[in-house]
């Protein structure tokens, strides 16, 4: 797995003196010690063992940034040319590690405490209590079940997006106009969409869609029954994100080799036949990428739900994210909410891994 694309090979003869090496190491260890000392000091101050200390942990953050800079600089000082190469990846890696790995470890700790921001006690470890509570929490399982429905809705979005991509790829006039228009929903913030569509167009008394339904003699009710409410959320989410899949599929269509399409036409394939036998199989890799990425985005679905239904009626539209959001917002239940989030993360990782495994096995098999 060492060769991925073109690799740039450089031969360098570095002659780094011992003094330089010592300087670099001293910088890294010196600043690391500073971070450790400040952190220990502050911890002692907060637990009341030392009288003087800082108001916040901000100085420790500054020391940490200093350490990160020293680490980057030391790469060049100690390793010379090789260090300069490391310097490309190191800043991003440090950034991600410090913003993801540390908070995740911290999250793991709080998820086993009974921390409630409203209570004055602070976090107290409570073992498996949160786990047991989760096991008996019908609303959480309900939210997970809803996520399944939401993810399944991706298949419909995929069909529509593929259709639109085919339309845009056909011989049409004003292609650029249609492309811009079809792209527009993706640009809109889900919060704005939830007002524009969810709260005004679907408003029961004055919304234009309600009016149309009443014209036809129906009685509009969009968020009253669980099924329709869920469908409405799916539709709004689909409206914003169909352009995303559409653009990816369109790019795939435009990259198809023209010769093969022409060959199939010369061989007398009808439109539907050439789609079924040629275009669709050739588009499979792009389709898989688009659908997987869309599912990943779908698993984060929350903004629209929070703003339109806040999970109602009776939790029928809740996604996991919106449920945990309310768990925190309404009940300040940090410990329990974090455990739910961690469990969700584990489930997502398992699900995506299985999905990718399945897809790669299925793709290898000849169609």
């Amino acid at each position: 797995m060492s060769s991925e694309g073109d690799l740039l090979h450089t031969v360098t003869a570095d002659d780094i003196s011992d003094g330089r090496k010592r300087l670099g190491k001293a910088m890294v260890w010196g600043s690391a010690t500073l971070v450790a000392v400040l952190a220990l000091w502050q911890m002692a101050f907060e637990t009341g063992r030392v009288a003087a200390g800082f108001d916040t942990w901000r100085p420790i953050l500054y020391a940490y940034i200093l350490w990160a800079i020293a680490l980057c600089a030391a790469q060049v000082i100690v390793n010379g040319e090789k260090g300069k190469r490391t310097l490309f990846v190191l800043p991003a890696a440090l950034f991600v590690i410090s913003l993801v790995v540390f908070p995740l470890l911290f999250a793991l700790y709080i998820s086993f405490t009974d921390w409630n921001l409203a209570s004055p006690n602070g976090p107290q470890p409570n073992g498996w209590d949160n786990m047991r509570e989760m096991w008996n929490d019908g609303f959480y399982w309900n939210a997970l079940k809803n996520m399944m429905y939401y993810v399944l809705a991706v298949s419909v979005e995929y069909v529509i997006a593929f259709g639109l991509a085919l339309l845009l790829n056909a011989q049409i006039r004003a292609r650029k106009f249609f492309r811009v228009v079809f792209l527009l929903p993706l640009m809109l913030s889900p919060v704005a969409v939830s007002w524009m569509i969810g709260k005004s167009m679907l408003e029961v008394r004055f919304g234009p869609i309600s009016r149309v339904i009443r014209e036809f003699g129906g009685e509009p009710s969009f968020f009253g029954t669980p099924e329709i409410a869920r469908f409405m959320i799916m539709a709004m989410d689909a409206w914003t994100f169909i352009p995303f899949m559409m653009i990816m599929l369109l790019a795939g269509l435009q990259a198809l080799p023209k010769e093969i399409l022409e060959a199939s036409r010369v061989d007398g394939a009808s439109g539907w036949q050439s789609f079924k036998e040629v275009i669709f199989p050739l588009m499979l890799p792009v389709s898989v990428t688009a659908v997987v990425i869309r599912i990943i985005f779908k698993l984060k679905l929350a903004d629209i739900i929070i703003n339109v239904t806040s999970g109602g009626p009776g939790g029928a539209t809740d996604s996991v994210t919106s449920f945990i959001f309310r768990e925190y917002r309404d009940r300040s239940n940090v410990g329990y909410g974090t455990l739910l989030a961690m469990v969700y993360l584990v489930l997502i990782v398992i699900f995506i891994t299985l999905l990718l495994k399945l897809v790669s096995r299925w793709m290898e098999r000849p169609a």
Binding site: M1, S2, G5, D6, L7, L8, T10, T56, T86, L87, F88, V89, A92, A93, F95, V96, V100, P103, F106, A107, I110, G163, A170, I172, F178, F182, L184, M187, L188, S189, V191, A192, S194, M196, K199, S200, M201, R205, P208, W239, M248, L249, L250, A251, G252, V286, T289, I296, L299, A302, N307, T321, F325, Y328, V334, T338, A341, Y344, L345, I352
Partner: protein, 304 residues
């Protein structure tokens, strides 16, 4: 041989079929155009309506109703109020400004960090412990599946102790983290498309690897970087979840402001519509003028 001669009997059938397919294609296109544009049209026209217009369901400006500035006056933007001092406008502009700063800086930071990492990963062999290039790439890209809700609560506590709660810097850091995998994904694709011989030539001519990167590769990869930047901008501008949890008064962004007013529905539709229009207009303009880059960004990686 018949099909070649257009005036032949057997050809008229072909022509009706051609017309039928044309009509089908264009009507499908038009239907979807309406689906895409109507909510936007509705929001913008509603912002110029008065209460009776909303209740009567008037649709077309100047025909059904006379546009009024009432909705825009509620956020202090109208010809009448433009010269005066208005607290609502100040409030709105503050949110707008927050959104702009946060989105621009987060995208810029993500593009800088992401491009460097993507370039390194597409050109050099790394070994950090057990991790090789493909593992490092996977580590970066796997951040994409991390749901925001997992990070939200730890960050809330963390930011509280760092006094970063309700500050723009806090949001910028999180948003950078959020878009970084996407930027790396797009940029890695870009750099892999640039032939390595260019840098080899530059190295022979005496540039260092950083010199070759900055002077030779960067100008070529610029369109890709713009694409990544704009895509990040869209995501950051629209982000709601973190902003709702981590900001309270000083650093709230536009989506939070819109969301905080959606509760009051029914009576003041026009002000909500004006606020929503103002929140979406910048990106609509971006979409119209920079559509090429957005599509380029999203297409990257889709087609290998």
């Amino acid at each position: 041989m018949n099909a070649i001669f257009k005036d032949h009997e057997a050809d008229s059938h072909e022509r009706t079929k051609w017309w039928a397919s044309r009509i089908a294609i264009y009507s499908a296109l038009l239907i979807w155009t309406v689906i895409c544009l109507f909510p936007i049209f509705w929001t913008i026209t509603t912002s110029f309506k008065l209460a009776p217009d909303v209740m009567k369901g008037n649709l077309i400006p100047w025909v059904d109703f006379t546009p009024r500035w009432k909705g825009w006056e509620s956020i202090g933007i109208s010809p009448r109020l433009i010269g005066e001092i208005s607290t609502v406008r100040e409030e709105f502009l503050k949110r707008f400004w927050n959104s702009t700063i946060v989105a621009l800086s987060a995208s810029a930071l993500a593009v800088v960090l992401g491009s460097l990492a993507a370039y390194g990963l597409s050109r050099f062999n790394y070994r950090f412990g057990f991790m090789r290039n493909s593992d490092i790439s996977f580590f970066f890209l796997s951040q994409m599946i991390l749901p925001p809700v997992v990070l939200a609560l730890p960050f809330l506590v963390l930011y509280k102790s760092l006094a970063l709660l309700d500050s723009r810097i806090g949001l910028i850091l999180l948003y950078t983290l959020m878009v970084l995998p996407i930027v790396i994904w797009i940029m890695r694709d870009q750099f892999q498309g640039i032939p390595v011989e260019l840098e080899e030539a530059a190295l022979v001519d005496g540039l260092g690897i950083w010199g070759a990167f900055l002077q030779i590769v960067l100008p070529i990869a610029l369109p890709g970087m713009v694409a990544a930047f704009i895509l990040s901008l869209v995501l950051c501008w629209n982000e709601y979840f973190f902003a709702a949890l981590l900001t309270a008064t000083n650093a709230t962004t536009l989506p939070v402001m819109v969301a905080s007013q959606t509760g009051s529905q029914g009576i003041n539709w026009w002000s909500m519509a004006a606020l929503s229009s103002a929140a979406i207009l910048p990106l609509v303009v971006v979409a119209i003028f920079l559509e090429k880059y957005i599509i380029k960004g999203m297409a990257a990686g889709a087609v290998k």
